[in-house]
Symmetry: C2
Subunit: 192 residues, 2 copies
DNA sequence: TCGATTGTCTAGCAACGCTAGGATCGAATC
DNA sequence: GATTCGATCCTAGCGTTGCTAGACAATCGA
């Protein structure tokens, strides 16, 4: 029995290694550089081993996305806790979101831009993703305003942040005015 | 002299054929299906011919993006013209934008999600892209509000639309409430 | 009519995601 | 302690990708 448990532990450890290595490689050189060959080499196993853990590259991206979502949710909650008052919380939340996207572009892409084979906006959405949205909702729901559904408000606010994050990184928006854009967004969207 | 002109016309025609075929194929089966081989087969030339017109696949995506930008700019202006009053213009503009993204997902991706090797937010940005932004600015600048730079306001509004478009199509946002989100966005962002 | 130039194609390179099938190793049995 | 047997892992290879070198043919100027 203990032998089998040890094997399962080792297997789980190797799986974490795969995900962490994929993330690191993607963050350092972009997702295009995350090939099954390179990834296999880094973890010091052969290619087929990857396929005993994941169906394919897509699922590896999905695993990175889930880990990232958990991390992001924690960061957002920590940021919100550190501010006083609904309005201030929204501002620091927005900054924290964009900061996360800026510091972890590959993880952010795995979560929201790439196809990681994950379900969204359904009841079978993975827990970490639902929780990341919940983290946004907790703070943004406070400033949705009268008669506006908090979830709908959160979706709109989130979409705006997502747009700013992706367009800025793609070079579509000059980065120097990000702070002004955030201020404008919070000013207009948040009631109070 | 006339011979050379004829050849140049034929060459230009073939280039348009390449771009149109790439667009059609991408729209029908997604950009992944747009391989140099398939594209060459459709235009009834061999692969290397593509490389005598474009540096590579990236530049073909870029060409599709430019054509799409011109088309989008015209559509946005037509939509805005059809509405009376600044506020109504903003609403139809937003709907027209999301509609374009929804009807031409591959072109939209070429413009704003994929790397088409185009410059952005610089003075050497291609004219069609600057003009598409200008089309947004013309309508959105009217409702930026006192003391808010029209371009900055346009960027924020655009980012929100872009977020809604991409997150919805990726299945991150349920599509059934799109109209409510647009209403909320216009309500809050537009002054007047 | 002949050489040069232009245009196009065939063939092939390295790298990709993914998989079939054989070797190897460790645990359980006699 | 030797032997079987199943799980584990690797070698090798398939089909496809973007892109290119070099051969070949058609066309033009002299």
């Amino acid at each position: 029995m203990s032998v089998q448990e040890r094997k399962e532990r080792e297997r789980a450890g190797r799986e974490r290694l795969i995900v962490a290595t994929a993330r690191e490689l993607a963050e350092r050189q972009g997702w295009d550089a995350v090939t099954t060959r390179r990834l296999a080499e880094r973890i010091e196993y052969s290619q087929p081993v990857l396929y005993s853990h994941f169906r394919g590259k897509r699922e590896i991206i999905g695993a990175v996305a889930l880990a990232g979502a958990a991390e992001m949710a924690a960061l957002l909650r920590a940021a919100a806790r550190a501010a006083d008052g609904p309005r201030a919380r929204v501002t620091v939340l927005a900054r924290a979101y964009l900061d996360f996207a800026d510091r972890n572009p590959a993880v952010y892409d795995a979560m929201f831009r790439l196809d990681g084979g994950l379900a969204f906006a359904h009841e079978d959405t993975p827990e970490p993703l639902k929780d990341a949205f919940a983290a946004l909702l907790e703070t943004l729901g406070e400033v949705a305003g009268e008669g506006v559904h908090p979830a709908l408000f959160t979706e709109v606010f989130w979409a705006a942040l997502h747009g700013l994050a992706t367009l800025t990184r793609a070079g579509r928006l000059p980065p120097e005015y990000t702070e002004h854009r955030v201020e404008l967004l919070v000013d207009r969207l948040a009631t109070v």
